[in-house]
């Protein structure tokens, strides 16, 4: 990782190790995060269906992207099968809740099931790195996709399966405003958990594996264990995200969980910022909103140039591909980096360089 200017306020020195390991770096940061959560929680009072549905989806994809960020950003393992794990979580939760277990319990259970599956597919990953790993996870994507199409008892096969509506003690979470709180709860849990992970022994071990796996091994870090653990954590969050997604739509079908979704997750963390906790959410928002913005844009252009009109769907897809390429070439460290640069230049003004 390149050097990122991220200045602290003047006079904020860390005198103890405990002070250096706080969850948020400054009080203002704590306040900002709390304010953000409260603001989102107040959204249903102000906004209607569209904004709420987008917030819910950003939250859901954000959780899954966060999982991938633990694997790819923190541990340096590439996964091209994250979309399939997301799908597995959706099917697992639908299946568990279909067997009479309340949805709220089914969601974490689905996360655990996905975690187990992720760890099984992580076993070959323990010995692989870089390209070979990317290809191995690609295989897991196709194998899981094939499983979805085939396992009628679990996924309903080609027909898909119905996911029950979530409810708290008989109170149905059956509209966007109510469901938002469930998603928000999991977003907070997931992001606090991963931000915490980064300052524990295990989290540091993961980062050490990413930065130089041989040195990490020499320092006594069990590579196999941490690589598989990282796959487990990552697929746990993929499973939670998938489960929330399934219960939100109420219907789960295998077509949504292709390699395209896996690529979109990767795009989210690259655009947000590899290894950055808050970047996962930013990236999710970006990838979710970009095609919609492009659609509005294309429709606008189409009133002038009618030939564009039939191409809207393609323009949406092209914009995702172009965004990935442009970010890699122009801003490889992602949106978070851009934000830090802006903030640094603001703070250091007029000596920004």
């Amino acid at each position: 990782m390149a050097h990122v200017p991220n200045p602290r306020p003047t006079g904020d020195f860390r005198a103890t190790y405990a002070a250096d390991r706080t969850l948020f770096r400054t009080r203002n940061e704590t306040m900002a995060v709390l304010a953000g959560v409260v603001l989102v929680a107040l959204c249903p009072l102000v906004f209607g269906g569209y904004v709420l549905s987008q917030l819910i989806l950003i939250g859901i994809y954000g959780i899954a992207a966060l999982g991938l960020n633990v694997l790819t950003g923190m541990t340096g393992q590439i996964s091209l099968g994250h979309g399939a794990f997301f799908g597995f979580g959706a099917f697992a939760s639908a299946w568990i809740s279909g067997n009479g277990i309340p949805v709220l319990i089914a969601i974490p259970l689905a996360g655990l099931m996905t975690m187990a599956v992720g760890m099984i597919f992580g076993i070959p990953a323990a010995r692989l790195k870089g390209l070979y790993l990317a290809i191995a996870t690609l295989a897991s994507q196709y194998i899981l996709q094939d499983f979805f199409a085939r396992a009628d008892w679990f996924t309903g096969g080609t027909y898909g399966s119905l996911a029950e509506t979530a409810s708290v003690f008989g109170f149905q979470l059956n509209n966007d405003a109510r469901y938002l709180y469930l998603v928000l709860f999991w977003v907070v849990v997931a992001f606090v958990a991963v931000a915490n992970l980064a300052r524990t022994r295990d989290g540091r071990a993961l980062v050490a594996v990413r930065d130089h796996y041989l040195s990490a091994e020499i320092m006594g870090i069990n590579l196999t264990r941490y690589r598989i653990l990282s796959f487990g954590i990552s697929s746990f969050f993929a499973g939670i995200g998938g489960a929330l997604y399934g219960h939100y739509l109420g219907f789960v079908s295998a077509e949504g969980f292709t390699i395209i979704l896996s690529i979109e997750f990767l795009a989210m963390i690259i655009i947000g910022g590899l290894g950055s906790v808050s970047g996962s959410l930013l990236g999710a928002a970006f990838i979710l909103l970009l095609p919609q913005a492009m659609e509005v844009f294309a429709n606008g252009v189409a009133t002038v140039v009618p030939a564009i009109a039939q191409g809207t769907a393609y323009i949406k897809q092209m914009s995702v591909g172009a965004a990935i390429i442009l970010f890699l070439v122009l801003e490889p460290e992602g949106l978070v980096h851009r934000w830090r640069m802006t903030r640094a230049s603001w703070k250091l003004f007029p000596f920004s360089h």
Partner: protein, 297 residues
Amino acid sequence: MNTSLLIQLLVNGVIVGMLYGIVAMCFVLIYKSTQVVNFAQGEFVVLGAWVCLALVVNMGLPFWLAFLFSLVFMMVFGILVQVVLLRPLLGEPVISVIMATIGLSIFMQATMNWIFGNNAVRFPRVFDRGTVEIAGLNVETAYLMSFVLSLVVMGLFFWFFQYSRWGLAMRATAYNQQIAQSLGISVGRVFAMAWAISAVVSGIAGVVIGLVSAVSNSLAIIGIKVFPAVIVGGLDSIVGAIIGGLTIGILENLAEFVDGQYLHIGNMYSVAPFYVLLIILMIKPYGLLGTPDIERV
């Protein structure tokens, strides 16, 4: 046991496997000389086929001229991709490079869907379609032609890397970039050339597939099938790529045979290679013929 079906499927496997082998070879060529994994290889194949088809159908060019033009187009395209997209990413981590080619593949897919449409289109009759009987088996002439053409391409590859000046320069660069540079080889040009050759040969494969069956965007799946093939062969072995392609082609058809005759699970054709891939990687993490990466601290 249905022997004639088995043999027929095996022959199919060899013919399809040769095409996989060629695309895998292009893939390995890029990886070996520029350390880039090209996830857009399948799109290259489709692009070549579409361009040739468009020249024949829309411009009314004779086939051989259209074929030639599409190869020139692919060459320019390959160089452009390398110079515009991948040169800025030199020295970036593996994941960035992988994602760049994935982004390229998404972009190309959408663009081709838009320009050429979603339907499969057949080439107009270029060659006579008939069947030849070889040792009691019916083989379509188109298949036979694709087989021969694959052999020719492989032969050209062999000649190029064994005897031509540029081929030697590419091998030297693949071996060690710094030493190659100190001997007066322009590494930048070698990189561009690797992409150009890879794009051209992919284009040839695309046109051949288009002639044999039809051109459609779903052909890009061959870019994914290449992965099991190169893993079997090892990512940095060109001969391995051909062997891997053949193995995967035969394996697919064998899986189909076993499945159709005994197991009746369905869809084994497309998934079996991936199971094999995972098993190979578990036992030999660098593929069957790849060189292990030895690191020192």
